[in-house]
Structure formats: C-alpha cells, structure tokens
C-alpha cells in the first residue's frame, strides 16, 4: 500500500497541497489568475524548480546538497565575465558553464562517494568555499549588462509560451525518464534505499553517488545560466538560500531525507507551492518578515500532511528499515 501511495498514484498529495494553496491565494487576490501573473509565476518558479531536480536526485541517492546556491553565484560570475569581459561567444560560454557546474558538483560527489565524507559536510564546505571563490572574481563586484541576447534566453517566448516554462517541462521530462527508464536512474533509488544491498547486487555504489552530484551540478549550472539571463548580470550575491528552497521543494514533494524515496514530478509541485505562496504574499504586499514566517509554516504543514498520509503504509518498513529520522 506504501507502493500504491509511492508509485501508482504518488502524485496526489503534493498536487493537492499546491491546488489548495493556489485556491487560497486566488481568493485573496483575483489578479493571481491573470494570464500575466501566471506567466510571471512560470518565470519565478523556473530557476528553483530546475535546481530542485538536482537536489531531489541527490536526496533520493541518500545524500543532501547544500551547495547549489553558492555554486550558482560562482557560475553567474564566471559566465558574465566570460561573455562581457573575456569575449567568449555566448553559446560557448553556456557550454563552459555547464561543464563548470558538473565539475563543482563532481568535487562534492567525489569527496562524498570516494572519500566517504558525509555529503552534509562536503556540501556545507562547498557552500562556504564556492561563494568565497565567487567573491574572488572581479574583486567581488557584480558584472552587469552582460548581453541582450542573453536576456532573450529567459524572457523570450515560443508560440507565446515563456521559454523558462518550456525548459522546466523538458528538463523534468528528461529527469523523469532518466529515473524511471534507465539503469543508472534505478541504481540511484537502490543506493539511496540500501547501500549494502546495492553493493552486494553489483551496483557501482560510489559511481552512482557521484553521478547524483554530477547531475545536481548540471542542474545548478542551468539554473545559473537562467539566473544570469534573468538579471542580465552575474553577482557573488546571487542564489543565497537557493539550496534550502530547492531542498524544501523536494521535501514538500515527498522526497524522504533517508533516501530511496521521492518522485521527481512532485518536486515541481513542491517548488510551485513555495513560489505561489511568495507570490500571493507579495501581491498582498505582506511584509517580508511575515512572509518568512508563513513560508516556514507552509513547509512544516506540507511535510506534516505527507508524513501523516504516509504513516499507515510506512509503519513496517520504518520498523525493519530501522531508520527513522
């Protein structure tokens, strides 16, 4: 029955949460449902939603990633400098940033998987170090007005659909296919579920753990490119707190911090829930202080509901798994 709630119809919970929140906001502000505001929402959710793909995959693999926020800051800086100051063509620069992202993720992955330093630690260190490096460029000053072509990457539309929305749909499609229809994807669930059993089943445990971080790095890189495009600039201050929003999205989406459980599509719903709440609060000009409180409550509530739904099904495996957070 856990299976039911996890695999066959696992999408219900978080989707319901999202709809409830949206309904609430729609009632308080008619403007919420304006086409304008909806595409505005799409723009706002896109970056965190994409970063959250990585966070989810790392969480499912049994790890945690605190680094994407800082990694994004670093990458927007490098990206902006490449394009504006070092005369690297936009296309090439994008490719290089994606590579950089994979490298940054790889560092955490290597330390966690091969040197067996807990991911919480390696990525905590990266959280500090990557932002430090970001500040070392252009001695800490943001790089503005990078290139107008760049902006189009974010603000452009296709058949009237905002590009970021398209990116999100495509990337989630790919992530879903990867996790569901490929061996490495399955391995990520296996390693997150039971490292020992995975090793004894011949799975490349370390390689799989590393892979999860490489993907997270790539996702962060895409997020960085979009961030630069959105603000047409790079800055060592970008992405502060992004890691926590991304993790929150995954967890609101029902991913288990014990690893092995989580449905990527729900992460998208989780991200939307967060953004809808923020948007609703902004539309009503609620002061940021109150916003923080509300966000906090929402996170707990969403997870609480999911836990509660889970209880029945989880009982056993909790017991045998012997792991309970």
């Amino acid at each position: 029955m856990k299976t039911k709630s996890r695999l066959s119809s696992p999408l219900v919970g978080p989707l319901v949460a999202l709809l409830l929140v949206s309904l609430l906001v729609a009632l308080t502000t008619p403007r919420f449902l304006d086409l304008g505001n909806l595409s505005n929402l799409a723009l706002q959710v896109s970056i965190v939603a994409i970063v959250a793909i990585g966070s989810t995959i790392v969480i499912v693999s049994g790890g945690i990633d605190l680094s994407p926020g800082s990694a994004i800051a670093l990458m927007t800086m490098v990206f902006a400098l490449m394009v504006r100051n070092w005369g690297v063509p936009l296309g090439v620069a994008i490719v290089l940033v994606l590579v950089l992202g994979i490298v940054l993720g790889g560092v955490c992955g290597f330390l966690s998987a091969y040197l067996r330093i807990p991911p919480f630690i390696t990525t905590l260190a990266a959280l500090s170090a990557y932002r430090g490096i970001a500040f070392a460029f252009n001695n800490g000053s943001p790089v503005f007005s990078v290139s107008s072509d760049l902006e189009r990457l974010f603000y452009g539309t296709l058949f009237g659909i905002p590009l970021p929305l398209i990116y999100v749909v495509v990337l989630y499609g790919i992530a879903y296919a990867f996790l569901t229809y490929t061996a490495p994807g399955r391995s990520i669930y296996a390693v997150g579920g039971n490292v020992n059993a995975a090793r004894l089943s011949g799975i490349h445990v370390r390689r799989t753990q590393l892979l999860a971080f490489l993907i997270a790095g790539l996702a962060a890189a895409i997020g960085a490119v979009l961030m630069s495009a959105r603000l047409n600039s790079g800055s060592p201050n970008y992405g502060v707190g992004m890691e926590l929003s991304a993790i929150a999205a995954a967890v609101i989406g029902g991913a288990s911090l014990n690893g092995g459980r989580g449905h990527i599509v729900n992460t998208a719903f989780g991200a939307m829930t967060i953004v809808v709440v923020q948007n609703g609060l902004n539309l009503n000009a609620v002061p940021p202080s109150v916003q923080n409180v509300v966000i906090g409550v929402i996170i707990v509530a969403a997870v609480g509901v999911d836990m509660w739904r889970g209880e029945l099904g989880h009982g056993v495996s909790r017991l045998v798994g012997g792991k309970s957070a």
Partner: protein, 510 residues
C-alpha cells in the same frame, strides 16, 4: 499438566494493521515454571502478539491478565515493571553503545542519582558469564557479528531478572553450541519457576525444549496449548498442512568441477582454504559461530581481497576486485543478514528481483517496465512467490517470501554458483521446504550451491559434502553419512580431532 492459576493470560486479543487482522481473538495462558512455545508460519502474527505482551503496542481489543488481574501494558517500561522481558526478533540493541550499556539499556544502575558505570560493567560481565559467553563488555555492539549481537540481545533480556521471559526467534543466528547453552539456561530459569514464551522456526530445538505449544495460523490459534502435541509432524501439520518430506534432498552432483578454491587466504580470517564445487552439487560449510564460513563466502564473492591462493571458475582463474566481478562471472551471494544486506525496502518485489541484472531489462542502460514485469512474473510463479510481491514493498512480505525474493534476484541474474548463507534463517517450515526444493531445482539445472547453515540437520540433509570450518581453516570434508556417525554434539568443536583426509572424498565423489 500445570494446574496452578496462570501467571499471565492473553484473552481474546485482536490487532490489525491497515485493516488486516494479524492477531484475531488470540487466547493463551503462561504458567510459572513452564516453557511455552508460540509457533506459526511467517506472518502468522507471533511477533505481533509478542509486541502486545511487551507493551510495544496496544491491542485493538482483548485483555491481558496477570495473576488473574487485568493489566494494561501502556509501554515497554510498563511491561518491564510487571516483570516481562523480551528478546526481540528485530534486536533491541544500539550499535553505537557498548555491550554493557546495551545490557542495561533503559535501566542503568545508578548511585546517588549518578550513573554507576563500574557496577554496570561488573554485572554485565556476570550475566555474560552465566551464558558462558566470552565478550568484551566495552566492545561497541556495532563492531560485533550478528550472532554475538543476538547473544547481547539475549543477555539483555536475562539481566532484567523477569518473571516472564519472552524469546522471539532468539536462535536464528546461533549454532548448536550456543543453542545448547541457551537451552540449559532456560531450563534453569524454568526451575526457578519463571514463565517462558519461546518462538522459533527450528522445530527440532522446540520439541526438545518446550512443555506446551500454541500454534497460530493467519493470526488465529489453530492448536491451543491443551491440544498441541509436542512432536514435529503434528506441529507442521497445524502450521502448513501436509508437506511430505521435510528434507526433500535430490542428488544431482555431476563430476564436472564448477568452482575451485586453491588455498585462498584473506585478511578477514580465511586461512589457506581449498575445496572444489562440482556442477549440481551442494557443498555444505559447517562450523561454530565465527568459524569463518561467512568470511569464505565473502572471499569467493569478491568482498574481501585474496591475500594468497586462487579461485578457479569453469577452469578459468578469477580476479575478483569487487562483488561485481563475481556476479559477472556467475557467482551469487544470498547474504546471512537479509534485512541489512539483501533487501531494498523502498522497492516492491520486482525491482528487488531485477536489480542485480538490469541489463536484461533493456539495451544501452534502458529499462522496459513491461519486460521487467514479464520476467519477474515468470520467476514469481517458479518460486511460488506470494503475488503480493508485485505490488507491495518487500517490508510487507513474510520472511519466507522475502528470502525467495533475494534468491529470485540471482535466478534473474542467471548465476551459476549460489552461495546461500543461512538461507532458511527465520523462515517457517513451509518456506524452508520451498527453499530446499529451490536448491534441488538449482542443482538439477547443473548449478553449484555452497550452503552455509547453522541448522545442523538441514546442513547434513541437504549437502552432498560437508566441510568443517574452524578458525578460518577447512579442517575436514566428509559425507553426510560420515557426519551422522560422528553424532551431533560438538561435531564442529575442537573435541573430535582427526577427520578424514581431504582428498579421500574427492575420489569417492568422482
């Protein structure tokens, strides 16, 4: 029979999980000075009843009487107040803590409000002595092998000095020697007029130990203490109906050598071990706890690197750097610790089966769910696996079905050499026989089986040859017949010295 009023009485207890009644109107009486067996297939509700008696959870309905007085066991500590102590099937030890601390977990001795470490370690030592167990009370439990952890779990229950002692499968990981010690201990406690409730799937030990037995089926009592005869055929009949031969051994050994270990040694206790495994043969490994059987399995499966020697498969020398290499060569390991090393509790049955051979599910690392379903359904039929395995996470399957899933994994991976480490540990007689038939199917198909078992009868009955392992050395190889002559007691121990020279059997087989 015992006429004095019962110490404890379970009256009409019912407990359901997610709507499924796993205890359904259960009644039984526990008398002081009596060893009471609670028997039943996997999933028949034994542990659930135990948890009720230990205050681990509350029954949906029904009552518990102590000396005829109704009592409520609101929590494990409440149960302890009433003099109940339990050896849990899922151990209740904390790996990160020392042996001593585990034995007094939850009720450490204090002096003037201050924890009295000296006293704790001293009394812990005494308890272990009484069990004739040699263990460093300061050792971290996580650093001990499963069997010793189980001994700690038992010591923990005995240290509580309770009037009712419940043991839920206390011997799964133990071998003859430890079991004997435990039984002598239990008999002494019985003489001290304590009540003992004993659960085990090892019917041979049960019949020799207990006075009365209550048998469950699907959560209901099918044979009360009064009715139950204490003999294996009766018990089996009540549990699973007619099963015929308990050890349906088929001899399929061929002459062709499948696997050969040439004086292999590892840093993990294996010393200069040599043996050959023929196609269709079951090679048993016998020995006391920690004799190094599991370690030999680890070496052959590529978990421990070889320090010396060579493993030869189908005439080809193997280089094993990682379990992967062994799997690729067609070697399979069914680990002794199913829960921590075997199963993925986040998966349903099918992904658990296919995980070791995802290549079969599609080309270029892709997976075709349809293909997975079809392949696994076929295995499901072949293994007589519960149909629930398709949709339920394995945590909800019975022990027997869980074991079948792990074995099924290696059938799916189409392995050639099966290392079965304690394959029937904690599974019911019906499931055991199913596993034996599976072994026969394997050997009939010309596969080789290395069987590690602490269940002496099983080992002797199902093996074509039995190697005696002692301190990581292979000290003797004999046929089951020869072993039976040697008799059971201390068969693996130092006691009986000169065993038949290794080569003689080689000839006898060929």
């Amino acid at each position: 029979m015992n006429t004095s009023p019962p110490l404890w009485e379970v009256v009409d207890v019912t407990k359901a999980y997610a709507g499924v009644k796993v205890n359904d109107g259960i009644c039984l009486q526990l008398h002081a000075g009596q060893i009471h067996a609670l028997l039943g297939e996997n999933g028949s509700g034994k542990s659930t009843l135990i948890k009720t008696l230990s205050g681990a959870h509350q029954p949906d309905s029904g009552r518990l009487l102590r000396h005829g007085e109704p009592v409520v066991l609101s929590s494990p500590s409440a149960a302890r107040e009433f003099g109940v102590s339990t050896v849990f099937q899922e151990f209740s030890v904390v790996g990160a803590l020392s042996v001593a601390e585990n034995i007094y977990l939850g009720r450490p001795p204090t002096k003037g409000g201050k924890l009295d470490w000296a006293a704790m370690r001293e009394s812990a030592r005494r308890v272990l002595e009484s069990m004739a167990v040699e263990l460093d009370v300061d050792a971290e439990v996580a650093s001990l092998p499963v069997a010793q952890q189980q001994l700690v779990e038992i010591a923990k229950a005995l240290a509580a000095d309770a009037s009712l002692i419940i043991l839920d499968e206390p011997t799964t990981a133990l071998s003859v020697e430890e079991i004997d010690v435990l039984h002598r201990l239990l008999k002494r406690l019985k003489a001290e007029r304590r009540a003992i409730l004993y659960i085990s799937h090892r019917l041979d030990e049960v019949v020799e130990l207990v006075d009365v037995a209550t048998i469950l089926k699907d959560g209901q009592v099918v044979s009360s203490a009064a009715q139950s005869k204490i003999d294996i055929p009766y018990i089996v009949k009540c549990m699973v109906g007619d099963v015929g031969e308990h050890y349906p051994k088929e001899r399929n050994a061929r002459t062709e050598v499948l696997l050969e270990a040439r004086s292999i040694s590892t840093d993990n206790r294996v010393r200069d071990v040599s043996f050959t495994l023929h196609r269709g043969e079951v090679l048993g490994l016998g020995g006391v706890l920690g004799s190094g059987r599991t370690e030999i399995a680890r070496a052959i499966f590529g978990l421990d690197r070889l320090k010396a020697g060579q493993i030869v498969l189908r005439g080809e020398p193997l280089r094993l750097r990682h379990p992967r290499d062994a799997i690729a060569a067609g070697i399979a390991l069914v680990p002794e610790n199913r829960k921590s090393d075997g199963l993925f509790f986040n998966f349903t049955g099918f992904p658990n089966i296919s995980i070791a051979n995802l290549r079969r599910l599609g080309r270029y690392g892709t997976l075709h769910p349809a293909r997975e379903r079809e392949q696994c359904r076929e295995l499901l039929r072949e293994l007589e696996l519960s149909p629930h395995a398709e949709h339920r996470t394995v945590g909800l399957l019975s022990g027997g079905n869980q074991q079948k899933v792990v074995i099924g994994r290696w059938l799916h991976a189409d392995a050639d050499v099966f290392i079965l480490d304690e394959p029937t540990q904690g599974i019911d007689i019906g499931a055991k026989i199913a596993v034996y038939r599976l072994i026969n199917r394997l050997t009939a198909a010309g596969k080789g089986v290395i069987l590690i078992s602490s269940d002496y009868d099983e080992l002797v009955a199902m093996s074509d040859r039995v190697c005696t392992i002692r301190h990581g050395r292979l000290v003797a190889q004999r046929t089951p017949a020869e072993l039976r002559e040697a008799g059971q007691r201390g068969v693996w121990g130092e006691s009986e010295a000169g065993a038949a020279p290794v080569h003689s059997i080689e000839l006898s087989i060929v």
